[in-house]
């Protein structure tokens, strides 16, 4: 290896290290500042809680055997609605792609559903599905499904025209064109729809839990507000932030695996 190459590689490493350092630094700074401000009474510990109180609350939850059940319920709801959303979204996108006239007919309805605030459907969902986990999942599904459909369908439409023509000249049938060209071409968009889908599922699940649930992190937040235990509210928010980050990272790992060879 030449010295220039070594220097180049070293520079990449240094830049990467710097970025991680600053990311951790900002996080620590935020928590330390928060703790210090509360400690010296500059901001109210009752309203803003503090990192130490959050940790204490979480430990209490763990000791009362409540922590894992709430996290588990929320995760379960998110994952079920996410998986349902992307698989249904994928299926509907295929149907729309294969039947373009249908897509044109449904276009205004999709646009309308996309911009409709789904939370407005909350009361209706509760009446139909009951005040239970089913309602939460339906809520999250409604929120992530339309986005998945639209994103994946638009991805399909962007298939390279020359590659489509190539498949035509090879006399490929519709199924072959779909499975060997259109879907693989859209890996990038499909992954993007996963990223959107996971975020939307979280939004939907928390919204659902606010409305109906007796379990889950959304419930913890609402309960905390009702009994004016803002440590609980803050703990819920921090937990959500951690969960959404982990879920997002999992999809990024999947993305790297799937898109290794695509330009």
């Amino acid at each position: 290896m030449s010295p220039e190459q070594k220097k180049y590689l070293k520079n990449i490493k240094i830049t990467k290290f710097k970025i991680i350092f600053w990311q951790i630094f900002l996080l620590l700074l935020f928590f330390i500042l928060w703790e210090v401000l509360v400690h010296y009474g500059i901001i109210s510990s009752f309203i803003y809680s503090s990192p130490s109180r959050i940790i204490k609350t979480i430990i209490e939850l763990i000791n009362d055997n409540n922590f894992f059940i709430h996290v588990y319920i929320t995760l379960k709801e998110v994952i079920i609605s996410f998986l349902l959303g992307i698989s249904l979204g994928f299926l509907i996108a295929i149907i729309l792609y294969e039947w373009k006239t249908l897509a044109k007919i449904l276009d205004p309805y999709l646009t309308m559903l996309n911009s409709l605030p789904k939370v407005a459907l909350g009361p209706l969902i509760i009446i139909i599905s009951g005040a239970n986990i089913k309602s939460v999942i339906v809520m999250a599904l409604l929120i992530n499904l339309i986005v998945s459909v639209i994103t994946i369908y638009n991805g399909f439409l962007q298939t390279d025209e020359y590659r489509l023509k190539l498949f035509k000249t090879m006399k490929a049938n519709r199924w072959q064109t779909l499975t060997k060209l259109v879907i693989p071409s859209s890996y990038q968009t499909i992954i993007s729809s996963f990223k959107l889908g996971i975020a939307q599922s979280l939004v939907g699940v928390i919204m659902g839990e606010f409305l109906v649930s007796k379990m889950g992190i959304g419930y913890l937040i609402v309960y905390g507000k009702q009994v004016f235990n803002l440590d609980l509210v803050m703990s819920g928010i921090i937990l959500l932030a951690i969960i959404s980050y982990i879920l997002y990272k999992l999809i990024v790992i999947l993305e790297k695996r799937l898109l290794k060879h695509t330009n």
């Binding site: 020359y162 590659r163 190539l166 000249t169 090879m170 490929a172 072959q176």
Partner: protein, 248 residues
């Protein structure tokens, strides 16, 4: 030589909201076995449309095309249209796979072609590792793998830079001669048409009609580079140039 393909009175209209556009008008053409012909004409005149009709991709026309029932045609397009998620080998056999023709004989032929075109050592790599010229060569292998009786080349070199264009067109020329392929080349490059083919068909502006058919009598058939040096080339060039510019 007998005709491998006979095109009689082909007329094609496009239908748009604004009205009917006549694309091709009364095209008559016989193509002999093992001959290389070029279609040249102003851009947008309908060269590619004619190719699509010949290949059977476009069935919306009037006229008659006589050909043997089992005549196989394969396309090479102006974009290499490689699939980046498949390896070079998987790209090469794509057409065979789609047509359920992955026989031992066909696969051996692909190996032979990959070897001949110096792509064998990269066969497990992905297309992004290839240069522009290599990608186009791979696209040619993918086309040849189908063992077509007629090769349809739809401006296959137009996306390449000058040097790769010469090299790859030379490659294609050599293999067409060696494998005795019948070739129809669509191009807007007059020099390419002359050096590549036995006959040049000059089309008029839309609606395209055959304006002139030139038999290219350059005796040297060893290579495109040699044919470029022939004096006759200049004469043909002038002739076609005038044909194409009379109208505009």
């Amino acid at each position: 030589m007998n005709n491998i393909l006979e095109i009689k009175k082909i007329t094609k209209n496009y239908h748009t909201k604004e009205g009917e556009i006549k694309a091709l008008n009364n095209i008559n053409l016989n193509i002999k076995k093992d001959e290389i012909i070029s279609l040249v004409g102003p851009s947008g005149c309908g060269k590619s449309t004619l190719l699509a009709i010949i290949s059977g991709l476009d069935k919306d026309y009037t006229g008659i095309i006589n050909k043997k029932d089992n005549l196989k045609m394969a396309y090479m397009l102006q974009s290499d249209a490689l699939l980046p998620w498949l390896t070079i080998y998987e790209n090469a056999i794509l057409g065979l796979k789609i047509n359920h023709a992955l026989t031992k004989e066909n696969l051996e032929y692909v190996d032979y072609l990959l070897n001949l075109y110096k792509l064998k050592e990269f066969k497990d790599n992905y297309p992004k590792s290839l240069s522009g010229g290599m990608k186009q060569r791979l696209a040619l292998i993918r086309t040849l793998a189908m063992k077509p009786d007629i090769l349809l080349l739809d401006e296959p070199f137009c996306a390449l830079d000058g040097q790769s264009k010469l090299l790859i067109s030379e490659d294609v020329y050599q293999i067409c001669k060696k494998e005795k392929k019948t070739v129809i080349l669509v191009t807007h490059d007059i020099e390419e048409a002359i050096t590549f083919s036995d006959r040049v068909i000059v089309l008029s502006e839309r609606p395209a009609e055959i304006k002139r058919i030139i038999n290219i009598a350059i005796p040297n058939k060893s290579s495109i580079l040699e044919r470029r040096k022939d004096k006759l080339k200049e004469e043909y060039f002038d002739l076609i140039w005038k044909d194409l510019n009379n109208e505009s």
